[in-house]
Symmetry: C2
DNA sequence: GTCAATTACGTTCTCCGTAAGGATG
DNA sequence: CATCCTTACGGAGAACGTAATTGAC
């Protein structure tokens, strides 16, 4: 029970040409070898498939029955090989990415568009998620790779630092802080603070950054940067967002100021499961992400 | 581009067990050999199909893609092999036979019924045709085998004599011939003669038999024995039919008498194309026909 | 240290090619 | 006798098993 694709090809070639010698050439073997191949095939399937003498070659009734199966087998083999080949050549495939909302809004769209130009056959899926969920999705295999400010467990994940993003203060133009050339963490003391969602990385980083600074919790916690901007604009307080999200808070009367502290940098890692290899498409995306930093949008 | 069924099986075994050692046992090879098989498979398809370390085995994204194809390939191979096996075991198949009306009516039905009991899965097709058409159908491959009174060209057909059928005179009870103990050809002199169809073997044999005897042509030529009987019964003449067709001419007022002449025997051959082998089903039918002569219905 | 996959290496067997053989028109 | 398929036989390479190695827990 071990038909090789080679023997199937031999069968099909002989069925079509009805000539051993010509079919042999098509299979790139000597007539002798080809004859033996047909013999082996017939032995394996347990029945004679061709009636032949030195002049004529024709399918036996069993050969006719086998023919349809042989065509299907050959087609399936060919399709499977072609499918994998297309994927390794990046002409087909799928890659799914999990990324924080800031990157999903500000940087990835253009990167993905460029990728799509190079590889129009590859289907890209993007999930904008908060930090915890990002690692979760990677671990569960729901996405191929993730971008995140937390690098996660080194036993479970392969991680590479992509860049560091500066955190920005968002406040009203008429805020006292708006006139400062450089903003330090201490300046935030006693200010009303609007949080982004608790499971997001900014919130978590703020916890560390401001542990020594007494801020006032406005009690507001929002998921969308637009909401954040609206609240600040209306005087509910101030907030801090990563650099790439600054433009999402753009609106008349608001100001964004870089925070001048060594710790006010948010790292962005690219992450995959350690025990799973990437598909060709995902690997290509990983490569493109690595060599396409957000460019002028960042300071180092 | 030469996937062997063996490598496909290895893939499926490993996909299912997720253990090299166990999958190896299932494929009846050593763990080492199995590891090499997976390696070869991955080399042939051009991509890694399993992520593995010494502890865990899992499909790569490409492996998942390949999986569905592998299942289909294995299923097609299995189905093709099973199909041929069923046929060689006579559990499936088809056999088509061409035979003269007399045999198709008198002998073959019971023979076919017996065959069907032994091989209920085999589909039997019977064509009752006149002699010329019978050889034609065999030559064109429209039937697997034929029964015929003419043996045809020996270069084109394989032929075996099954038996000889005596020819019978059919006449009215009040016919002068009805009183004769033995009928000779000479007795038919000057009698009105109703012919069976010109392309049938009886007609052709009559031409030879009666070449030295002057008969009168009634001008009637019929295809069905029932018609023949009706015409004779109504006094249009006499006719000659093969022994197995005698009972088809049975009706009150008619008599059938064997013709006592060495040449008044009609041979029945079983015939197949010389350059085509029979399917297993057709071969089984051939064998059954050979060893199931029409028995008591004939004299030698 | 243990267990499982892999690599190294020698053996066996499959498969191919050259050359001789045989059948057919 | 010319053509085409088949058989014979020897060599090259594939595939397997045993045993040593690597790697993960």
């Amino acid at each position: 029970m071990n038909l090789s694709g080679r023997l199937i090809d031999a069968f099909l070639a002989l069925e079509e040409t009805r000539r051993f010698s010509i079919a042999a050439r098509r299979c790139h073997v000597s007539p002798s070898a080809f004859s033996q191949m047909i013999g082996r095939l017939e032995e394996k399937v347990g029945t004679r498939l061709f009636d032949r003498d030195t002049r004529n070659v024709a399918l036996t009734p069993e050969g006719e029955v086998f023919s349809s199966g042989a065509h299907r087998i050959a087609a399936e083999i060919h399709a499977s090989m072609a499918e994998l080949n297309e994927r390794s050549l990046l002409r087909k495939g799928r890659v799914s990415i999990a990324a924080p909302p800031s990157l999903a809004a500000a940087w990835l769209p253009q990167l993905m568009a460029n990728f799509k130009v190079d590889h129009p056959g590859i289907d890209i899926r993007l999930h904008d998620v908060v930090s915890d969920r990002c690692l979760d999705m990677i671990a569960r295999g729901e996405v191929d790779l993730g971008l995140n400010a937390q690098r996660g467990n080194d036993l479970e994940f392969d991680t590479r630092l992509l860049f560091n993003e500066r955190l920005y203060l968002i406040c009203r133009e008429d805020d006292p802080l708006a006139h400062l050339k450089q903003i330090r963490l201490s300046h935030l003391k006693d200010r009303d603070f609007i949080h982004t969602v608790r499971s997001g990385s900014v919130w978590q980083q703020m916890q560390g950054l401001l542990s020594g600074t007494k801020i006032r919790d406005s009690g507001l916690e929002v998921a969308q940067f637009g909401t954040l901007a609206g609240l600040i604009s209306s005087g509910f307080g101030i907030s801090i967002v990563p650099q790439l999200a600054v433009y999402l808070c753009n609106r008349p009367g608001l100001l964004a100021c870089p925070i001048n502290a060594r710790k006010a940098l948010r790292p962005i890692y690219i992450i995959k499961r350690k025990d799973r290899s990437l598909s060709a498409a995902a690997q290509a995306m990983w490569n493109q992400i690595e060599k396409s930093p957000p460019g002028g949008m960042l300071d180092k």
